[in-house]
Symmetry: C2
Subunit: 296 residues, 2 copies
């Protein structure tokens, strides 16, 4: 039963990877795709598994990564004890993506959906969060409304939204959030695998609708040098979060995952300025107040 | 006796801060200096101390920070136990600087010199390291030759050079160094404070000569878009090192130091590209081989 769902979920994430790839290709005629198939060989008992890393560079999407992987094998006991399961046999599969659009009116997005099996325990995790650079409040409402709708049959929006608000936080920057949140959940196992599988795949299937309409709406808008400067500084904060706080990134580095696949999350360009502040009364100054927990 | 040297060292670092500031101003007519005096108020027993943060932006020096600080007070026991002294009373003073020049032919430099007193123990630490972006081997020889000369009376070059090679390493990037090394030392106390004070201040006094002649030599050289692209990607690796590995940065963040003063080390602009590689047979491909321990 569990094995069946593992195979199904593995197929599911690869199919979602293809759908997202197609959607991006439809929107960006200049999109260059670099696909790498890699094998995992550094588990204690060597083979196996691997992944499909898809790195994109284009006109609409400056850089992006849409990755899937399925890995399994014995892990070392110290690492095993830090996970929520038991035993030293780990199996994990999932999709992880990050999209940094060129136009500062189009938000950056991150999402991932994963299934983990360790010893006789298994669970799901995942979520999606948005990092906009321009105070289009209607867009933030839209993103959250899709996730509210997605969560409605499971009554999970409030908790997953709160977990997201608490997770994507630059604690060293006065608890400023990386973006405007979304959903986040981990160690999800209600005891009914059929129900959980349905929920997680159902949520994941809402990703395309939560994000790409915003891309289509904003990708041809005009923007100023100041819009770009603000975007690049916020991307700098994105790098700070990913390298200082993100569990997924630090997990990947500590377990000697494939570096280029892990750090694909970093934006192509970013900026840092001592005491950076957007201009007074600018849209960017207004945007700053949205990087806080907020009821959408 | 110790108290006398603490006062002297505190004056010394502030004087060196002024000398470096003047040197930078001589070389960059457009240099904008933003000086912030700040007070430290978050030790367990509040006051005190503080610092002088000098942030620069100019034409020759794209961004730079030349900071001094002197802080003292009770620290929490957990943090105290991680330091090399004893007791929970800490005093620390030092100068810390980082300079990111605009022209990719001019290397980035970092240096710091500090004195720490905890309980009945005290020690010195510091060093200087260079991050060039163009394979001018003669410049790398020059930088190391100044430090060799500075170390000669103390016989400390070999060890401090080796410690530096081992410290500024991106372990997650196949052990690539951040730059071409220099000197690094910590917990230095030979038992003769007069001798140690002389050595550390003597080393620190060589900083200006180790770096600024390279700036003068290269600051007006022509450069290409490819030179800039390589520089910005290497600056990306600089950010990776500082946020993932640098003890000073992580120490500052964990002890809730002044964020803007800590992250002043980040370069104004940087880039990340999936599987970034400079062009074959380019000077930049040649430069890559220098980011390894090497006898200069």
């Amino acid at each position: 039963m569990l094995e069946e769902y593992k195979v199904k979920f593995s197929h599911f994430v690869r199919q979602l990877q293809d759908e997202i790839t197609q959607k991006m290709q439809q929107l960006d005629a200049e999109l260059f795709l670099d696909e790498d198939l890699w094998e995992r060989t550094d588990f204690v008992k060597k083979p196996g598994g691997g992944g499909i890393t898809r790195a994109f560079e284009g006109e609409v999407f400056e850089n992006a990564g849409v990755n899937t992987s399925e890995v399994y094998g014995k892990i070392n006991p110290e690492f095993a004890s830090k996970l929520k399961g038991n035993g030293d046999e780990l199996w994990a599969t999932g999709i992880s993506l990050i999209i940094h659009p060129y136009n500062p009116k189009v938000p950056t997005v991150h999402a991932n959906f994963r299934m983990i099996h360790q010893g006789d325990k298994f669970w799901f995790g995942g979520g999606a969060d948005l990092t906009p650079y321009y105070p289009y409040e209607e867009d933030f409402h839209y993103f959250h409304s899709v996730w509210k709708k997605a969560c409605a049959p499971y009554g999970c929006y409030d908790e997953m939204k709160k977990t997201c608000d608490q997770y994507f936080v630059n604690t060293h920057r006065n608890n400023e959030m990386r973006g405007i949140g979304g959903l986040f959940f981990d160690h999800y196992n209600s005891g009914d695998i059929e129900k959980d599988y349905k929920m997680v795949t159902d949520l994941a299937n809402h990703f395309i609708d939560s994000y790409f309409p915003l891309v289509e709406k904003r990708m041809n808008e005009e923007y100023t040098d100041e819009d770009v400067e603000f975007q690049l500084h916020r991307r700098g904060r994105y790098v700070e979060f990913n390298l200082l706080h993100d569990r997924g990134t630090l997990f990947g580095l500590k377990t000697k995952g494939r570096i280029d696949s892990i750090l694909i999350s970093l934006p192509r360009r970013c900026m840092y300025t001592y005491k950076y502040q957007p201009k007074e009364n600018s849209p960017h100054e207004k945007m700053l107040k949205y990087y806080r927990p907020y009821e959408w």
